[in-house]
Symmetry: C2
Subunit: 339 residues, 2 copies
């Protein structure tokens, strides 16, 4: 019997509007994917579309039936199924990874192991996660920073026109570790000019200062930077990594970019081989999507998995980042249940 | 309770003395590693030492007790255990991989899956394997080629002083596909001079024509070659791959070089990312060691897993290459049993 796929719309709302260099909002809709096998095992995944990568709720809902058609009847054949998914419809990584995650959940459940342990990893090796402070008014930024007092490391969204002011505002209320994500908001020279400012405010890591294809900008920044510079929008799949060698210190893996849990593991292998740092990030998504990424955090250096922690309510219980520490559930598969 | 490790000496004998550019012999001793968990599950691996990579039977027997000390009590923590093995004693890849393989056998047995399926691979996707004709007198080479009539693709060992004669001898008795392995036996200019000869005899692939560190030699050969050029001795672990980009068409993975099944999978990911072909090879070893490598052949292009097929008797039943087709056993774990 072929595996069957069904979907469910998830309506998410962030505690505060979540604004980055490209804009923002407070209501998000994602799609829950459920894949069922003959024995009644059910695997779950979540598709969190991002327009920046060419996906919307509608494209996700259009892509999933195509993926459902090529699942076959043996969830254990992950490599072959993922190849069929990509052949059936390329890109559409958020939709595709929801299927990949649901299959992995299913397979690990059948083996009676948490996905982390199925992969041979130690859940106790999961690192800390940052918590993100989006762009906002000075007053709201202060409020958010105080609300986030449990998190020892904050990630600040810069790349707007009030970057220095934002840093000043945050430093007026906290001396915690700060990492910065400019989401392609600067040019190379702007980023170089910002480096002393970041240093002045004790920023410890800089993510995606420039446009995705501006590798020359990255190289220029890295020549001047004393902190690690990480590629996010510039690094979608493993194929992007060789060109980034020497231009950045590390890469940020997101499931909604790379489209496959197996590809995420390949990206880690490739980045490590090139001596790069590895970071894992997320979209605004529920604990279902976050937990899938949490399971491979024992292999990474830097974690930003606050997508569900930013929500005002979360339909699922799974991995958590309370107090900044990633905690991977030990139930079989993803270990995610409905709240 | 900590995992326990025990060993058993295996005495192997090849049907004919197996001679390559560095010499050869007909008697081989390898070490079987057995790792047992609390529940009485037992995982097996095999250490096939090669002096070229700094290992002998004695170094294997000296290394294994050090590895036994750091196994811990949870075989599922493959990533952490492999890191401890390497920290306890680096290099010693043949000894180390026997432990890695035994742990993987154990973990897949506990999950009730063949290792291939545990990894998400399709055993039916395993490719054909070559069968190797070692160096010998013209008469013996003819005998060996005729004995190997079941194998549609032969691998010829060159790099000696009678290369053309060997090719002529083989072509006098067969028109099957031929691949060539020079085992570092040529200089760059010698290899370039050999290319038209290889072409004349219809050779389809050239493995390790020059010395391990002669990347300039590789580049020179590749500029002239119309057939894929593969690095074997030049590519020990994934860390060697970036330097080989542009110099070769692919890499040959051997467990006794890379020291870990997880590293073998990482090497495949890295090679694929760089657009390289992937080959898997072996040492002279029993079906125990061969089967471990067979389980990941669904991910590779070119297979040379004839190490056990060259033996006059084999203590184990596992993967086979009868008729040239790799067949992966479907029992749990490696699926290997004693003959």
């Amino acid at each position: 019997m072929p595996l069957t796929l069904s979907t469910e719309l998830l309506e998410l709302r962030t505690r505060h509007p979540f604004i980055i260099a490209r804009g923002g909002q407070s209501e998000y809709r994602t799609v829950m994917v459920k894949i069922t096998d003959d024995d009644g095992h059910e695997g779950w995944g979540e598709a969190a579309a991002t327009r920046f990568y060419g996906e919307t709720l509608d494209t996700v809902q259009a892509a999933l039936p195509r993926y459902a058609d090529v699942l076959g009847d043996d969830p254990q054949q992950l490599e072959a199924i993922e190849a069929r998914l990509e052949a059936a419809l390329g890109r559409n990584a958020a939709a595709r990874v929801a299927v990949s995650v649901a299959l992995h959940d299913l397979v690990a459940k059948r083996a009676g192991l948490s996905l982390c342990r199925y992969w041979g990893l130690d859940p106790a090796a999961a690192p800390q996660s940052t918590f993100t402070i989006g762009m906002d008014t000075a007053e709201m930024v202060r409020t958010k920073v105080l609300e986030a007092s449990d998190y020892p490391v904050l990630k600040i969204k810069l790349g707007g026109d009030r970057d220095r002011e934002l840093l000043e505002t945050i430093r007026s209320v906290t001396d915690r570790e700060l990492r910065v994500d400019a989401n392609c908001g600067w040019t190379g020279p702007q980023a170089v000019a910002m480096l002393p400012v970041l240093e002045e405010f004790g920023v410890t890591l800089l993510e995606q200062p420039v446009a995705p294809h501006d590798l020359e900008g990255f190289r220029r920044i890295r020549r001047h930077a004393r902190i690690p510079v990480i590629a996010d929008e510039s690094c979608v799949t493993a194929r992007d990594i060789p060109a980034l060698v020497g231009a950045v210190d590390g890469i940020n893996i997101k499931l909604a970019k790379c489209g496959s849990l197996r590809e995420a593991l390949r990206m880690i292998a490739v980045a490590r081989t090139h001596g790069m740092m590895v970071m894992v990030g997320c979209m605004i998504e529920s604990s279902l999507g976050i937990t899938a990424a949490a399971h491979f955090t024992p292999l990474v250096d830097v974690v930003d998995l606050d997508g569900a922690a930013l929500l005002s309510q979360d339909p699922f219980v799974g991995a958590t980042i309370d107090g900044g520490q990633v905690r991977i559930p030990d139930g079989a598969g993803l270990g995610v249940s409905r709240r």
